[in-house]
Amino acid sequence: MTSIQTALPGRSARVRRSPRVGALTGASGLGLGVALLWFSLLVLIPLAAVVATAVAGGWENFASALNNEQTMAAVRLTVTQSAVVTVVNVFMGTTIAWVLVRDRFWGKPVLDVVIDIPFALPTIVAGLVLLALYGYESPLGINVANTEKAVFLALAFVTLPFVVRTVQPVLEELERDVEEAAASLGASRLTTFRRVILPSLVPAIAAGAALSFARGISEYGSLVLLSGNLPLRTEVASVRVLTYIENGDAASAAAVATVMLAIALAVIVLLDIIQRRVARRD
């Protein structure tokens, strides 16, 4: 406790130097410290270690890992399928959230709970279920095993809840009065949705899309059984990372991981920009 108290003058000194920053009270200073420490231990330090390992391997190693045809094909497949799945999620997730909030139907509470199952299921179990349902012995007659569609399917399965769960609470909070006002002013339902509802949902949709994409490019467990890991065809980036690790080439593994991190970051920033644009236009 003493160490925390002694820390306070230091903070207030810094605040004095930059008066624009609001002064932190003791409690919020402690909160910020705990949050930063926890975040550093779990995220910042491990990420820095990945990047450091990649850099320590040297640029040559980095370049040769990325020039590897098989690796590039895997990265391309992973990013493309994650992007497609994210676009599908934006539409399907928003629709599901809409149905859950605005419609009344039998079994709605059940559906509301079941949506989270892809979160709860261990990914390898998800993979087994998908293999049983959409593999060679599919009871539905749909066989996507060992094709790109298998990658899409597995990613769509595990990322389904993201957009639903980010959009749903926002939709619940939305005032119906505004919609009624728009309607009484002569706006069509479509115009009301486009001009009134959608702008309020965009930040939530963007956040859900970012989560969905980031989860997609890192997925491994749920798709390896169904996709068959065929080089240049159905092999995803995380399988390449595992291959490098198995070969004792940590630097190349870290290089691929760093590229995936950079792509994820770029997409998250892009979605954030889109969301701000939309918000401003509103």
């Binding site: 160490s3 925390i4 002694t6 820390a7 003058p9 230091g10 903070r11 410290g33 705990v34 420490l37 231990l41 040769s64 590897n68 045809e69 098989q70 094909a73 087994l128 293999l131 049983a132 593999g135 060679y136 012995e137 095993a145 060992n146 390896v224 059984l225 068959g228 890991n229 065929l230 080089p231 240049l232 065809r233 092999e235 399988v239 390449r240 595992l242 291959t243 490098y244 690790i245 198995e246 070969n247 004792g248 080439d249 190349s252």
Partner: protein
């Protein structure tokens, strides 16, 4: 001041983490009343055999009172975990390279494989698993590269143990007087026919039993184990196949009992337990019934030609460089070529 608070916070966090780690370790122990506790870290497949052998060993003078803490998983992952500090007295891996990693890290003595058994504690062979009734009539290696035969084999990139299978296919061509070019052509056809490359041997069995492909390249012990637990596929031991050799080693700073355990593993008694679980015994003259084998009373038919890594491939170190190097290896190159089609 600020720094001190950060250090204090970091120390607290580290303390909590250490506490959590200790808690985890303690609860993982099996609470045996023995005076000695040994840690076994191994690949997943021989878990049942090791357990049975440990029970037998406990009845001997040497093994009495020893309790075990075991950890099983993918061979490469387990080896990297020990390298990174996972406590182990005895390790049992699928591939020699996983022990070599620990030798390089200074955890296992350089002469670990100097004994008569060359560090090997369990053996098996590469076999061809086919569907019940063998509808595609697969009897030998040449049959699996025929058009229209779908092959499932674990991924030689991400699964180290999958390499036995690929080398078995290569060795088949060379053993029959083929040139390296013939072997490359054979492997090209092999990968053209490959419909799935699951992450591990067990994943490959799962993929095969759920309908993928016509033939699964697997290990004899894996096929026997799956059949013993109710799978109704068949397996074929080709006339020429590769001997799979799994190394075991004691760590430098292990409890002395660990060496006694390793010695015991090579006895007839212990090898009989391995045999019961589908592994080819290292000791001759073991007569045991093996449920799950094609012929339980003659479970391990001798192939006409049994290739070995040391005898036919110049050892793992050479084979890994030649076949599996990501940039210059023969196998990744063939996989790239066939992947484009």
């Amino acid at each position: 001041m600020n720094l001190r608070s950060r250090v204090a916070a970091a120390a607290t966090a580290a303390g909590l983490l250490a506490l959590a780690a200790c808690g985890g370790g303690a609860s993982a122990g099996d609470g045996g009343s023995g005076e000695t506790q040994l840690s076994l870290v191994g690949f997943a497949v021989p878990e049942a055999a090791n357990k049975a052998i440990a029970e037998k060993w406990a009845q001997t003078e040497e093994g009495a009172g020893v309790s075990w803490q075991t950890s099983y998983g993918a061979s490469g992952d387990q080896s990297r975990a020990v390298e990174a500090g996972l406590e182990a007295d005895y390790v049992h891996f699928s591939l020699e390279g996983d022990v070599t990693r620990l030798v390089d890290a200074g955890l296992v003595a350089e002469d670990w494989n100097a004994g008569e058994n060359k560090g090997i504690v369990s053996q098996s062979t590469v076999v061809l698993v086919v569907r019940k009734g063998n509808p595609k009539n697969i009897q030998r290696w040449d049959d699996i590269v025929k058009p229209g035969v779908g092959i499932v084999t674990p991924n030689p990139g991400s699964s180290g143990s999958a390499r036995w299978n690929i080398l078995g296919a290569w060795g088949h061509v060379i053993a029959n007087g083929g040139t390296e070019d013939d072997a490359k052509a054979f492997l090209t056809k092999f990968f053209e026919n490959t419909v799935a490359l699951p992450g591990s041997g067990r994943d490959a069995t799962t993929a095969f039993t759920s309908g993928n492909g016509d033939v699964l390249i697997s290990y004899e012990n894996e096929a026997i184990l799956a059949r013993a637990s109710g799978e109704d596929f068949e397996y074929i031991v080709p006339d020429d196949t590769l001997l799979i050799e799994n190394p075991g080693a004691v760590l430098k700073n292990a409890d002395p009992k660990a060496q006694a355990w390793l010695d015991y593993l090579l006895t007839e008694e212990a090898q009989t337990e391995f045999a019961k679980n589908g592994f080819r015994p290292l000791v001759e003259g073991i007569d045991v019934e093996v449920p799950g084998a094609n012929d339980p009373t003659n479970p391990f038919p001798e192939p006409a030609k049994l290739l070995t890594i040391d005898g036919d491939f110049g050892g793992w170190s050479e084979a890994n460089d030649k076949f599996f190097d990501e940039e210059s290896g023969i196998v990744p190159a063939i996989q790239k070529e066939t992947g484009k089609q």
